[in-house]
């Protein structure tokens, strides 16, 4: 159906796009082992010394501990509120249901800077000191969406006849949840939580506006990118984060079954 020429063009284009996606990541990886502080290509010599320097850096350790704290709390909030919202929207039809599901995706439909400055103004008006708490509030707001999307997608694919059958067989609401509904959506909840964690760990656009002077890993990278002296350490942290991130994402991908939910979650989650 496609002509020979069309096939060649399509395959060539596919190869180009894949190279475009992966060559930059490969290059960052190589620079993490570069001996010199400069950015000239080709790289002269290779070393692993920057990994040790990064590991001993007080700033990196502080940023890492903040990032892990923030991501944990944001994930817990997102889990509780996101799955509750998914149940409500899926199970019940109520006045304003469409508005609620629209509102839940607003943080990702609006440009990131709008969410960022909106939260910033409110924090200022309320006089809350900037810090871990304000970062968690910001992150939780868009992490909720990730959990919500994952859980609601799974609920839609789980037949309601299972719940009805369970009730017919005499189970009460709690038993039905415990033995029927929960096992069906368990992996979706875990996948959503992992993605929320990864998203929070990665976030910079909103964090910049809600963190004050508190360091997180992305803030550390952001602050040090402009200091040429610190670039090798930034390279190393970047690569470490890159590899660390792949673990939760890979597990989430496996749990969510087809890549569909994860892909969807990510494309809908970029704040």
């Amino acid at each position: 159906m496609e002509s020979r020429l069309a096939r060649i063009l399509i395959k060539g284009g596919t190869a180009f796009t894949l190279a475009f996606l992966y060559v930059p990541l490969g290059i960052v990886l190589l620079y993490a082992f570069s001996e010199s502080v400069g950015q000239a290509w080709p790289i002269d010599g290779y070393t692993t010394k920057w990994f040790g320097i990064a590991w001993r850096s007080q700033d990196v350790r502080e940023a890492l501990s903040h990032s892990l704290t923030v991501a944990s709390f944001a994930t817990i909030m997102a889990l509780l509120l996101g799955s509750a919202a998914a149940f409500a929207v899926h199970r019940f039809s109520f006045f304003g249901r469409n508005s609620v599901s629209f509102m839940l995706v607003l943080p990702i439909a609006l440009p990131g800077i709008v969410t960022a400055i909106a939260l910033n103004s409110t924090i200022n008006v309320l006089g809350i000191p900037f810090g871990i708490l304000t970062i968690v509030i910001g992150h939780a707001t868009f992490c909720i969406v990730v959990v919500y999307n994952n859980v609601v997608a799974r609920l839609r694919r789980t037949p309601t006849s299972l719940v009805e059958a369970s009730m017919d067989l005499g189970a009460d609401g709690w038993q039905t949840f415990r033995y029927v509904t929960f096992p069906a959506i368990r992996t979706a909840i875990v996948a959503g939580a992992l993605l929320a964690f990864a998203l929070s760990f990665d976030e910079i656009v909103v964090t910049n506006f809600t963190a004050g002077s508190t360091l997180t890993i992305p803030k550390f990278i952001y602050n040090n990118l402009r200091l040429p002296r610190n670039r090798p350490v930034v390279n190393v942290v970047a690569i470490a984060v890159l590899i660390l991130m792949l673990i939760p994402v890979y597990i989430a991908q496996r749990l969510a079954g087809s890549g569909g939910e994860t892909a969807e979650a990510r494309t809908q989650a970029e704040p």
Partner: protein, 299 residues
């Protein structure tokens, strides 16, 4: 979800279950109350504060924020040539990025949807999504390294003997970095659109004598258009709201940079709030048009 009583306490648990079963409203408020309160108070509340802030102004002498009402911020945005140029530049680059991403998405999306084996299709889809999970800053930083005058791109161009290509900090660099960042967002909906076209449509078109290009233009393109528009929403919106990429690889200001500077250095939050209304308004119009094109079903 709503029922939290422990099963071991059979009597109370069963009574709670039964109560909630008979009172679905109670169950609904239990599960919806938390998230709704969070969103109304924190998110919608913040957007409302932002909207109101846009009408406040700075006292000329003390630089304190005055909680009054003025349209000066919006008038400045409209009448000042500098801000008008920044708005036009941001929208222009956002449009260029969106078009480039859509064009780059076509071959891979088509290949994955129609030519690849199921195994290969899965591998391709994962390959498209994975870079999204690499830290955003790392991905911009990668291009900063590549585009620097002594970097990889210039080396590559010089190797091929085509002279030299030193983009460094420029709008071209911003364009390339944005295209890279948002490509997966356009790829996935376009792939979905290709996948939904039944093969019989293409066969019918061929049987009726249409060549490849004619089929693409008259059959395939109208069918994937909603997917294209859906993908373009992300590429366009994300570019409008970004301030970090222009700062790292560019040498001009974008809407996001002005907002960032006014929150931080200049301390003119009312003006920043007013400028933030511009991408919101542009996106509102864009989403309205996208809805007309049927893009929401293709998301």
């Amino acid at each position: 979800m709503a029922v939290t009583a422990d099963h071991g306490d059979a009597g109370a648990g069963r009574r709670a279950s039964a109560f909630l079963f008979r009172h679905p409203r109670a169950k609904l408020s239990l599960s919806l109350g938390g998230p709704l309160a969070w969103f109304l108070v924190i998110y919608i509340g913040s957007l409302a504060v932002l909207f109101v802030t846009a009408f406040w102004y700075l006292d000329v002498f003390t630089s304190e924020i005055v909680h009054g009402f003025t349209l000066t911020n919006f008038r400045t945005l409209w009448e000042n040539d500098v801000y008008r140029a920044i708005t036009l530049r941001t929208v222009g680059i956002a449009a260029a990025v969106t078009v480039t991403d859509v064009i780059l998405s076509f071959p891979l999306a088509y290949f994955a949807a129609r030519l690849a084996t199921p195994r290969m299709r899965n591998a391709l889809l994962i390959a498209v999504v994975l870079p999204l999970w690499a830290n955003y800053l790392v991905r911009v930083f990668a291009w900063k390294i590549i585009l620097t005058p002594s970097g990889f791109l210039n080396w590559l161009v010089e190797m091929t003997g085509a002279g030299s290509l030193q983009l460094g900090r420029s709008n071209w660099s911003v364009w390339i970095a944005f295209v890279y960042l948002w490509l997966p967002f356009t790829l996935l909906p376009i792939y979905g659109a290709f996948e939904r076209i039944p093969s019989s449509f293409l066969e019918a078109s061929g049987d009726l004598g249409a060549r490849g290009w004619t089929t693409f233009r008259n059959v395939v393109f109208p069918l994937i258009l909603p997917g294209v528009v859906a993908g373009s929403i992300f590429a366009f919106s994300l570019t409008l709201g970004d301030y970090i990429t222009p700062e790292l690889v560019g040498n001009t200001q974008f809407i996001g940079n002005v907002i960032f500077d006014n929150v931080g250095v200049a301390g003119n939050i009312p003006f920043a709030a007013a400028y933030a209304m511009v991408p919101v308004a542009i996106m509102a119009v864009y989403l309205l048009l996208a809805k007309r094109a049927g893009a929401f079903e293709a998301l």
